[in-house]
């Protein structure tokens, strides 16, 4: 029910954005994320973008995971 999926913003018009989900396009509300820009990924929940996905943090998380995996190997 609290499902939200990352989707790419293709275009923006006022409070609405066109996003791409697995090759399909649909219009969603960006009233909760007015900072969203074309090219951003947003988390889409019941027709509303609830946040802009932070790419730098995603890269950092993957680095932390790699580090956890490395610690597993050396022990």
């Amino acid at each position: 029910m609290c499902l939200a999926v990352p989707v790419k913003v293709v275009s923006i018009e006022g409070n609405e954005a066109e996003v791409e989900i697995g090759g399909v396009r649909r219009r969603v509300s960006i009233v909760l994320t007015p900072e969203a820009k074309v090219g951003d990924y947003v988390l889409l929940h019941t027709g509303y973008a609830i946040n802009v996905v932070n790419e730098a943090e995603a890269q950092e998380t993957l680095k932390i995971l790699e580090e956890m995996a490395r610690l597993d190997e050396i022990h």
Partner: protein, 361 residues
Amino acid sequence: MKYIDEFRDVELAKKVVGRIEQLSTRPTRLMEFCGGHTVSIMRSGLRQLLPPTVEMLSGPGCPVCVTANADIDKAIALAGLPDVIVTTFGDMMKVPGSYASLQQARAAEADIRIVYSTQDALQIAKDNPSQSVIFIGIGFETTAPTIAASILQAESEKIKNYYVLCLSKLCPPIMKALLDLGELKLDGIICPGHVSVIIGSRPYAFIPRDYGVACVVSGFEPLDILMSVEMLVKQIETGKPKVEIAYRRGVNPQGNKIALELMDRVFEIGSADWRGIGVVPASGLKIKKQFERFDAEKAFAITLEPVREAKGCICGAILRGVKTPLDCKLFRKACTPEHPVGPCMVSSEGSCAAYNQYESV
């Protein structure tokens, strides 16, 4: 980066499991609060992969499942009124109330329509100006801002036939209620990722402080959950419980300020009726007086029969984490996804539905 496949890398997952094995030296009991986490854990088989020291319990984080029979009865009674169209998320259709489900009410000629978004409900209201359109507003903090936004939009666009049956519920207060019940000795909680997109991580601060229970806000891919388990185990092993965020690409400590402001404009805190737990003060949202003309409970008079609970159904105990679906005598016998007795078998995120789909006999 598409933010999905990167977090499903099986080889990396195996190594993170290995790391958790190294760190975990004592029995550790964790609750994944959110039904979305339960599904991801079951689907990817994480429960079996984790070392035997780490026990995972499912929590009450499924809005459909925690909706009380009394509230489903209200939705069905509203649908029975003349010139009313009830709109609802699809998950709610098959949930049995005291006497019927919305699906059965629809078969008996009530006009009940499944929507994906409050935007769709608003459109139905615009398209049917001579009828009253009521949205069944279930959900946690993730969904509440979208309901608030719809009410504000109805006001600004002067859509006068749009109403909400507000059943929104709040997560931190129910976590407190569960901890106060004292039925479970929890060491850590995997906090809900998309609720936290809205509220941030700060509202969980009381959990480590007052209860000594570790908290990590998690994303929903297998690697997100494993990373959260690693962080929880590390907190627990070092005896330093705190609130951490593993899902940093989506969650920051402050949450979504705009969403919180919209909620604050439209809603006030009130009590909520939770299946299996009961009425919990300050655990739900009510529509403020200023917007009461959109409140279906105020706008329509309905009469309700006494509430009845299904015999033998243990959804309540499952939602509190004290029982699993395998403890239920009805599971996979009298209660199946086709003929559900309780809501945990209806919602795709319900524990019973997840166990039914992914757990072998």
